[in-house]
Symmetry: D3
Subunit: 269 residues, 6 copies
């Protein structure tokens, strides 16, 4: 018998969402998949919901009868302030309000390394490091983390902030030699966060078992995440095909990488 009755998975049509759709299936009687994009046909144990989480009523209704939420909806790119205000921040709020109003006990949130992106690489920030967002995108992550903290302290909704580093098919550059998270390890990360007996408000970095580690999970052992994949096998090829980076360039200097080096989104317009 699966651990959960019904898990709501948001962003289910996205890149990570698709892997979670497959990977989390065994954990629940029903996986309720939500996205603003089409989700394809629902499998036997699936329910699908196509909607925009900025729609308060629909978003709150979406977690009814769920015992956990895996919130992966979002745009993994820089956005304007107006966009995050219209879209990502309300979505986060509606998710946590849904949890509060529907009695959902735990929310697993796809936060990001960009919540702390301006810490220098050699500082190796741990999960207690202060927020240092590197973009407006990162600011949606710090905001949602603080919102989650409030919902735990005040309303008893547990949550785990997964600070995903670089979740791609394979490591593509030198930074990803430490920051890469395989899709399979991403699924493991969500599983750990769902199954840990007690999380309160917890934070964990999401990387695979890479030789290099510019972030530290030293205080996140209670979540039981043990990555199985590694970027190491790609190191030789990546070193061979990419030039030595300038260590003083912002994108090399801080854990947020290239995001920290982007300009203001309005300036591009």
């Amino acid at each position: 018998m699966p651990e959960f009755r019904r898990i709501l998975l948001t962003g289910a049509a996205g890149s990570l969402g698709s892997h979670l759709r497959r990977g989390l299936a065994p954990l629940a009687d029903t996986l309720r998949l939500l996205d603003m994009n089409p989700l394809g046909a629902a499998a036997a144990n699936e329910e699908t919901l196509q909607l925009d989480l900025s729609d308060r009523e629909a978003a709150i209704a979406a977690s009814r009868d769920c015992d956990a939420i895996v919130h992966f909806a979002g745009h993994p790119r820089e956005q304007t302030f107006e966009e995050i205000l219209a879209d990502t921040l309300p979505a986060s709020y509606h998710i946590f309000e849904g949890a509060r109003l529907n009695g959902v006990k735990r929310v697993i949130y796809a936060s990001s390394i960009h919540a702390v992106g301006f810490h220098p690489v050699e500082a190796v920030p741990d999960t207690r490091a202060q927020h240092r967002p590197d973009t407006f995108y990162g600011l949606t992550k710090t905001f949602t983390e603080d919102l989650a903290s409030l919902y735990w302290d005040k309303y008893g909704v547990e949550s785990v902030m997964l600070r995903i580093c670089s979740c791609f098919p394979e490591p593509a550059d030198r930074r990803m030699l430490w920051s890469w998270l395989s899709f399979a390890d991403c699924v493991r990360l969500v599983e750990s966060a769902l199954l840990a007996p007690r999380v309160g408000f917890s934070v964990i970095y999401g990387t695979s078992a890479n030789a290099a580690a510019a972030v530290s999970n030293a205080h996140a052992g209670h979540l039981g995440f043990v990555p199985q994949d590694s970027a190491d096998g790609h190191a030789a090829a990546i070193l061979a095909r990419t030039p030595r980076p300038d260590p003083e360039a912002v994108g090399t200097r801080v854990v947020g990488g290239g995001f920290a080096a982007t300009g203001h989104p309005d300036d591009a317009a």
Copy 2:
């Protein structure tokens, strides 16, 4: 000759704003006062602007030709999420965008103890403690702190987050025996933050020189704030007229006090 050419003071018609209007006058050739409420007649060295900071264009224009911003506009009470989204968050953004676009070097922000309100009193949080907002009001403070961090790291706008505890005419209850900040000390606090040669992104708690201190400025010495007033003279009277608090009540247990004990703003509706 004053230190600054022109300082923009937002929230200038408010309770703290009025004290700052008087107190900061000697620091600038011109004090540009901004509020959504009437500001009365402008003195010789004053300019007044009545406008709503959620108006992007006007808000950004407001800091033109300023060399510092003292951002005290805000509603010192719990708000709904919809309110903060429509009002406080855009106001913060417009202030920092104004600083960036107009080349204003430093922003002094009226943050609040409610940014970390859920830390237990006996933990005595310092300025490096993690965010633990106790309300949506507190969430506007953590959001603006993170925004300020981004604008420092990415755009070189210095800022000081003043985590004001309880700024009232006099201490009114037992909690204020540690959390009280006199109006005069509030002015001193802003002065320190304006005059310190270098602040980068700094955080400091705002209390007077009270015997009790449930927050710690041990890492904020570079700002040079030395409060001169004290709640201590009110202790006997307050003890006499108020009952012993329940130490396990939320409002006594955490540094945020009564705010941490409030319900969800929607539930009152």
Copy 3:
């Protein structure tokens, strides 16, 4: 109207107890004085109890109808293990059991610097430093601190551990230039611990406002203790009449002073 209805003060016939008997009188309608030695005539607002706290039944009955306990009974000298087992440990237990069974909300305990006496002076231990008892006497303090921790975590009895350093009529040697606590400051210390709105399980060092400080109350600000006396006026005379200490002698090297240099109590027999 006093803050408390009835405070139980143990060790009330002792040196510190006598000062507390006078000093705490204004805080309670009734001060219930307890000692194994005669307590003299009871004043108008006093009750006296002559009994041995190792007598379980009597000790527990002693805190009936009290709203706070100030536990200063004890032998401020090294003891054999058999003595502490027969006497001090049961007394501590009976005090906390009394608090639990009688619904007394808070216990103020005369712990001691000897609970952490083996920390080197130059380490300047704070209130989070690990236990390093320097004697069996110190061991009664660490035991009672741990017992108090248990009674807070499990039974909701708040307590403050006062790690009294050197409470004597005046500083008598060079170590006391940092460790001295005047009797008046000792009363102030107990008052602070009684009146703080919330203490949970708290630890604080008890010294006067001396120039030197080999222990740190940096994390005890919430208790609001501000000493008013100082050993500094005695420094010249003490330096003149005492020889330079050997910095490598145990009694100079560690904060516990001479206690850390004593031999095993059985060896003296």
Copy 4:
């Protein structure tokens, strides 16, 4: 040639003691087994002593001619204060007095997670965390740890506090997925503590190599303990046969588990 001439093993007839009896045999010419229960026939390199460690004279004599003590005697269950006073505390004292008087250089002590049982799971306490006993049983552990600290600082008796988490034949519930210590790993833990060249006064948590880790040995690397077993293989079965725990229940919330949720031992009577 074995490392030790003679090791005293107390609690040798107990569950863990039996495994140590076998496992430690290669380390010493002679294993002196002690228990209050019958120990069976002594093997070639064994000596047996049936006695109660609360008997001072016999207990001290027991470590004569030993070069190490492995002190595992005790009752792994909650006890009344009167029991621990009559039994466990004197036993600990006699063991350390024996070490002091007989010149035994090192004591390995079976402390317990219950010495720090009230730390929340998500705090992942390390070996420098403060004592937070969860029971009177836990209080015997904190007391003995402090006693050991005293005997190291004052009398030069080295010791290692093994904070054993859950040492059972196999993991039996969800908490044991992080807290389980196999018998074989328990033997490895004692071996490490015996063989490390220098331990002073050291603390280490005893768990197997489980995916989850709610305690941290980050500061205990000098002891060289590397567990070889793991609870992970039992995870699927345990998850399948046990219900989701309530994360706010005391027994789930803190590292001490169910012990922290027990009532006062007198209340059961």
Copy 5:
């Protein structure tokens, strides 16, 4: 009767040395003054030695029959590597060798803020912060601090590293509003370091009681230094006559001030 029989004061003809010559006189029967420059006539309780500390034999002989050394000789300006190698490093070594060979128990050393000059102002480094020298001058300070550490750990010579910030007749610029140390407070600082019963190897920052503090003595309380002077009275005048500094200029950004902004000494040649 003075505390010391004979104190060796090096650099006694220098700016600080002259104040120490007067200020330390009451502490010793004899003050042995050493400088490479003329020292004027010796007072009744003075001995004078004109010599270069890079002369090994003479330098070692200089501390014979002393019970303390106050080592203030040095060039408070940037130097070439060749200079420090020929001059300052040997001088330091000879001083500590003298202490070792002549049985002098304690050395007070004029280290400098420039030993940690590259820490950012807003980091408020404490006495445990890592070395970050800002000049070759600063490197002579970190070297001598490490040498002193070695002589304490290995040879039992106690020492106090006084990280003097800005010791001048009066504060001259905005940085000195936090870094200024009056001559009288400098004398008090040396006195404290000499008179503290136990220092082992200690570090302390030397500033007066200024409102601003960009360094922290939170872990140096055992030395008992309480400055009596303050730069605060000079603040208004300094602010009026100096321009606002650029907070991103190196000399404003880090605690070392202008030294950190100097070029390589060879480049000037």
Copy 6:
């Protein structure tokens, strides 16, 4: 195509240097080998330079046209102060001056455990621990580390301090069970330090993957060093053939081992 155009390797004729000569060959078009001793015939991609690094001009010229320096020249034994002054300190300076003047971006330095040798084993120092050199040899390491810090902060020369513990053909005694670094792991360590995209000023301990670890690389994960060898296979043999060490002997007590127990080099003369 190799990562580097030309790497300068100093100490290339030494024990570790010979392994690096072979191991680093694939990383650069040209390996420039430098030693004061003969280097044998140069291979196809090698250049050899026989010279003494205390010769300023030659030493600086040696890094011309290099893009990295691996500085392993030195005498791995205690030296007199006069020797280090004449030899090791200038060599270090010339290396960093060469880097500055020739635009070499990164220096990898063979520092040593003896830079922090006096930390007790049970303290398990990490890479942020304070310097505690145990010899004049160790003092050359702390000096060069501080010099490297200066060259990073001021001149932008990146560097990694490799605190090599015990690099020998195989572990030879009980201490090496934690401190041993195989030659192959030493090569891996240098490779990691060369290839990490960003190091700023970093410190890392060099040991193999041994069960015991008396030093901690918890903050050095960004360097990506993963040792592959282990001393563990030698444990049984070493335990069998060496006596139990005295845990209070200096050489056992501190991480520096026997070096910390050596006398002053002059005393041997």
